[in-house]
Amino acid sequence: MPLASVLMLFILLFFSGPTRADSTQYFKNLFYDGYGLTLEERILGRSCYSLRSSPLGASCNPAHLAKDQKSQLRLNFTADQSIGDVTEMQGHLRDDNPTELIRSLSKNRGVPTSSSFSSSVWYQSEYNWLVSYTPLRGGVASFVRNPTLSEITAHVLTESELSLKGGFYFANEPKLQVGAQLRYVESRYLRHQFLLIDALADPSMLDTRTTKALYIDPGISYSFDNSWGSEVSLVVTNMRAHFSGDEIAHKPSLEVGYASQTQFWDKTFRQSVHITTRPDIYELRDRFRWAGIYEAFSSGAFSASFSGNDYALGFLGRWDSLTYGIGAQSEVLTLDRQALERNSQVIGEIGLTF
């Protein structure tokens, strides 16, 4: 295939301008947040796809499972300090109660909000596959501007997910690992910008949608033969193989990263530089992310990442069968290409491992 055509296809697929049909195109899109299964994945953000997880984590890139020989059964709950608000809103969304949802959304005047929680159970096999079930995951990103008239921009999400991923490598080319993840997701969400008075006049005007979709996320990773343990990873996320229900505006996202590792105070430190084509990001500097994992203890690891206007830091540890995590995340939300106030969250995780 001629190079120009490949280039055109690449540009069309990942970089073409956002459609104008979606009035919230320049606001955070929760579909691309990638909650993951652990606090570590949340701290790493999209860099999770280029950085192998710590012993307590779960690799996001399915190709990384190819050489991951750990086995674990985990139950997990991850949330931040706004869990009360987000569970309230996702509850109203789930119960189809638009009036109460509007009331909850209109409370956060002039303060941008971004919050999420998830509960999950997963099993990772030493034979390079992982199956997980997230019965409930909720997220809210909202902002109310102009208290005189109250223009509300909101993305409220409640969903459940069943996923299976696995990875392998070729015997004659062990440096190359490939993998894929299948995700079945049932979502109910509201992604809408509206005036409070219009919603008061007719609460049913809220654009709530329900979707059931099957996604395929293929991944690849190539390890270089050097003292830095370098590797390059590439994953395509949100490739929709099938869906039913209401149409949603979303695009596949390409995640590319370069990772390396070193020993620091006799402990392993891994870091990566990552780039994402996530469509709700339009500043070039926000597309790049640096992330690192430092396995400070045999029973725990620190993780951190930063990109443009956001950064996160956390610790995931284990005590007997109990897993725990604490972290902090801070980001500047943007609306219509204008930066809003900084939104910071303290995140916690509690779980069991067998």
Binding site: L7, M8, G17, S106, T148, L149, L200, A201, D202
Partner: protein
């Protein structure tokens, strides 16, 4: 081959730039709205008014500009839509309540007096009082929710609010949220006007001035009907529309009956003595 490659590249670049292409007029409009909204967020309502007045002058049919301009005036008067959320919900509740409970219980004293009075003038006065109480009971549903409505601080605020309503009146096809917004602004004005009305003052004393009462009744009736009409136009659901229409008819009927009764009375100096009722209700006369 070179030409084919150039064409492909050109096509790719066109698609790349296409999504970012916004017509110039759209950019100007969005800029005006964004700037005015920013001004309002910072409390610079006068600046927002200036921008939107300019916009409306060039585009008199721009509904968004009209709404923003009205909101800027309302903001300067200290009225914010988020203050209304609980009122709007309360109004919904009391609308349903008023259909369930009539005014009979609160009129027991007056009806009792009426049955014992032989004096024709006194009977007429009591009938007028009964009519007024009936009308006010209907209005009481609003009054109960009034504590949730913001109060206007001064004459300048009243002027700004009147300006906001007048701007919205400029669109004869106002519907949906904008009509609801106008109705809610009128509620603020009604609260302000009602509490300074003579009607309530005289009911607290022992005499009614029938001329003043008639004036106040007409004004409150007119304002309440306009508010309910806005709520009707602004309602999204047919069930809500039907409910609002029922209440509108009920209030209109009650006020009209009270007004008809004032027309039948011609007391001396337009004064009616209601000290008997005041005493029965536990009040005292000077």
């Amino acid at each position: 081959m070179l030409i084919k490659k150039s064409k492909s590249l050109l096509l790719a670049l066109s698609f790349l730039s296409f999504g970012g292409c916004i017509p110039k007029t759209d950019k100007i409009e969005r800029s005006d709205y964004s700037t005015a909204t920013q001004m309002m967020e910072e409390g610079q309502y006068s600046s927002a008014i200036h921008i939107m007045e300019g916009r409306l002058k060039h585009a008199p049919f721009d509904q968004k500009a009209r709404l923003l301009l009205a909101a800027a005036y309302a903001g300067r008067a200290g009225v914010h839509i988020t203050d209304f959320f609980d009122f709007a919900q309360e109004l919904d509740k009391v609308t349903k309540l008023s259909q369930k409970y009539g005014p009979e219980s609160s009129l027991g004293v007056i009806q009792n007096l009426k049955s014992r009075t032989q004096n024709r003038d006194q009977k007429n006065a009591l009938e007028l009082l009964e009519g007024i109480y009936n009308a006010l009971f209907q209005l009481n549903n609003f009054l109960r929710a009034f504590e949730l409505v913001p109060s206007l601080k001064n004459a300048a605020s009243v002027q700004d609010l009147n300006a906001a309503i007048h701007i919205l009146d400029g669109d004869s096809k106002l519907t949906g949220g904008s009509a609801l917004y106008r109705g809610l602004l009128r509620v603020v004005l009604l609260k302000h006007d009602t509490f300074s009305a003579n009607l309530f003052k005289s009911l607290g004393e022992c005499q009614i001035n029938t001329q003043a009462v008639e004036q106040d009744l007409r004004y409150i009736q007119h304002q309440t009907i306009r508010i309910l009409s806005d709520l009707y136009i602004g309602s999204g659901s047919e069930a809500k529309k039907a409910q609002t229409q029922k209440q509108l008819n009920s209030i209109d009927e009650a006020f009209q009956k009270a007004l008809d009764l004032t027309a039948t009375l011609t007391p001396v100096n337009h004064q009616i003595d209601i000290s008997q009722v005041t005493h029965q209700l536990g009040g005292q006369c000077p």
